[in-house]
Symmetry: C2
Subunit: 486 residues, 2 copies
């Protein structure tokens, strides 16, 4: 317990339902996930927030490695002349770049960009590394910090510097690159659902929502409680655009020299923002057990100087930790109710209470964070000999219940419409993911955005009977989810 906890009692947070934005900021700060820093647009990821990020990293990293990817590290600083080689790419990112112009006392002859993303640097290195078809595919991922100049700050959702992973792969053929792009999209979807307990829609983006320089961008999109979508991961098929700009060529088996096909894909700490917003409640965070830095917190209850519960908690915590569970004991000199509120706020999935009577009976009380006090099954008493099994079962149940609640929300807020007026109304009022037959025209999307602030989130194949675009009446080309977004 080296981590500094908020002094004094946990201050009230505004109810989530009343003001999501105020609730979100208050929870991020008071649960000690982040602090604002003295640098505009930058937050500090505190130990509790970093614990969440480490668990996300471990889960994603294992999936990347299981699919043949390796980690590497590329330089932070990118010379301007390299960054500008891909025209669309630089146009998209230039307004967001932080520039280094001085080193020590020296004025640089060429500005260095702090990477907003690494396609330029990775492409330059791939051009050096790749000679033959035998060198392909290259499947590399990088865990790194990036900087994009931003005025506003919202923890995780919008920060000038953020942590992410960026995958960069090179392939022999367009087909292989597309397969990789979709493999990662599906990996992201599976991670979101099974680890983050977030149901998402995954699919391709419209042309206007594409990554600068990509042939096709795909994403996973989660729905937040205010009816706004949150793009939580993207996977780009870059075709040969970057191969041409950075001269990444290989000699194929037929001796012909060809450009490679590249992909890139990323998930950032934005995903933590989605998790916080989707699962939290009026009492604070509810963290999915697979990502929780602390899966269970022991609260020993000391009465009239009987401190036996502390020893029992410490002993059980050691046993559970040895069994691979993430537990801690809160033996601070504070009232139990105060501690309950604090760990509720911080979203620990299970609280384990042990008092003098439990010590006598060799029992413990397990309280689950995903249910409210008045709900049945919120607390259960188990024999200490059964505690590991009971806790494991409860963690699985809580993981499933958070997912199921989020899925119900997404389903009940996904609305297929065929009427134009209804469509514009639903978009304006942030009713959720509004599912229509769509023309795929940029002008149509711009008009919907102008009137309602909603844009396409992801597209999918037309369904039988789709003839006209619900938004504008032109011929339909795809189904699209429209929503306002973060």
């Amino acid at each position: 317990m080296s981590e500094a906890l908020a002094g004094g009692a946990v201050k009230e947070i505004p109810p989530k339902s009343a003001d999501l934005s105020a609730w979100y900021t208050a929870v991020c700060l008071r649960a000690q996930l982040v602090s604002y820093s003295p640098v505009r647009g930058c937050v500090v990821l505190r130990p509790y927030g970093f614990g969440l990020w480490e668990n996300l990293q471990r889960e994603l990293d294992g999936r990347f490695k299981a699919t043949g990817h390796e980690n590497a590290y590329f330089p932070l600083l990118i010379p301007e002349s390299l960054l500008i080689r891909e025209a669309e790419h630089v146009e998209g990112f230039a307004p967001e770049v932080a520039w280094v112009t001085q080193g020590g006392s020296e004025e640089l002859t060429e500005r260095l960009a702090i990477r907003p993303t690494s396609e330029a640097m990775v492409g330059t290195m791939y051009a050096q590394w790749i000679e033959s078809y035998r060198d392909l595919p290259i499947l590399i991922n990088q865990w790194a910090n990036v900087v994009r100049w931003e005025k506003a700050t919202r923890p995780f959702l919008r920060t000038m510097e953020f942590l992410w992973q960026e995958g960069h792969t090179a392939h022999k053929s367009a087909q292989e690159a597309r397969e990789e792009t979709l493999r990662i999209l599906d990996l992201y979807r599976e991670f979101a659902e099974n680890v983050a307990a977030l149901p998402v829609y995954s699919g391709r983006k419209s042309a206007s929502e594409r990554f600068p320089g990509a042939v096709e961008t795909f994403s996973i999109e989660a729905l937040m409680p205010d009816g706004k979508a949150l793009q939580s991961g993207t996977s780009h098929d870059l075709g040969q655009n970057f191969a041409r700009a950075y001269d990444i060529k290989f000699t194929d088996a037929d001796q012909a020299v060809k450009y490679v096909h590249t992909t890139s894909w990323g998930i950032s700490w934005r995903m933590l923002g989605a998790i916080i917003m989707a699962h939290g409640d009026d009492r604070g965070l509810r963290i999915p057990p697979k990502l929780a830095p602390t899966q269970a917190v022991f609260v020993p209850i000391v009465r009239s100087g009987d401190e036996r519960a502390v020893e029992v908690c410490n002993r059980l915590a050691r046993i559970l930790a040895d069994a691979g569970l993430r537990v801690r004991v809160d033996a601070r000199d504070e009232k139990p109710g105060w501690k309950y509120s604090e760990w509720d706020l911080r979203g620990v999935p299970v609280r384990i209470e042990i008092g003098p009577r439990d010590v006598d009976a060799q029992t413990a009380v397990l309280a689950r964070r995903d249910r409210n006090k008045d709900e049945s099954g919120q607390r259960q008493t188990v024999a200490v000999t059964e505690i590991e099994a009971a806790l494991r079962e409860l963690l699985v149940e809580i993981q499933a219940s958070l997912y199921s609640q989020a899925r119900s929300f997404l389903q009940s807020h996904t609305i297929a419409v065929a009427d134009q007026n209804e469509f514009f109304d639903l978009c304006s009022t942030r009713a959720g993911m509004i599912d229509i037959a769509w023309c795929e025209r940029a002008e149509c999307e711009a008009e919907v955005k102008r009137q309602t602030m909603a844009t396409t989130r992801v597209l999918r194949e037309l369904q039988e009977g789709d003839v006209r675009c619900t938004a504008c009446g032109e011929p339909a080309k795809a189904r699209a989810y429209f929503a306002q977004s973060y």
Copy 2:
């Protein structure tokens, strides 16, 4: 095997004994640990090098957590006004700072430093977080990239951007802070010896070698084959210097408001440079098994179309991987001898050869990288049923043998002298760690440096009979190891 390997045969590397510097650079590049990047002073850590770094991270991170530390992440950019608060600190680092002066199209009113180290940022946050003695100690570590403006580039040893970990702790008392400083110093020593197989001298630095702003700096120092020392980890007792500069105060149990005592400590990817230089030989890298990205490589030998060995290798590799060993199969269409050279160059501790006759006999040949071809026991034939046990035993032996070779070198190149002329000679000729009674005067150290390029590495207590400084004849105050250094 997605990683691109060097096309064609492994090119020759210069013999290590003939030209350590040329050997070092050639090995770093040809073993695919790093590539030079298009940014001056920056290298790319390629997958094989990153694998080494990941293993180092895992080993150190586990030790930090076991001693109560937690990870966090602080912003990359530090406003100039914050950086300059601690006078000695800024004086030490200002010449090495890369400055951001533009964000998007905006000229900044205040320059932002890319962190050369994070005391300024961490101190600012600790001042916000710490109120009461109950909040102490704070024990935080950060894995991060830092930038220090450098002209020269030597992979791992001297690069403008590098990866490291930096620990930052705050304590109630001077004694606690000093205990933490020494706890980490010992953790670093234990890691160097038991994981990196590097024997080191650990102790306090002289005043002139102190971290800017520290009350006392301690370090671990390894000896390289050219007789130069390599500082491989540092631990600083910062006293109340940073607490005063950043106003980090707490209310103690006695209600008095006091400044905290802080420490900081770090190991960077420089440690990888020490490992490469200390253990390598004329054939290339020799990586300690505990850090090796690949602990054993299978080379199936295919003769006259008999490909059974490939299947056997794949099957055995799966079994060993499931048992937690890091193995790979090299089934490329190349001659076995070519592969042997390549994996020797890349320092894989054990090579496992399986040919048609081994398939028939259900055996495998294990060849150890730490011995030469003509040494007894370099190769052994084992039954495939015994392969896991045999490999594990061999990895333990190789780890121990690398350490023992490095320790013999350090011991035979540690020379205690009492004669002034001999001392200056040994320092000039880079004879190793030259151990003398020393006066601790900065003037004396400067004079030794002027004449021989050697400086003090670490100091320890005087021994019986030490009266005069060997270097200058003034009264002795400590024993010191002198050496030229990287």
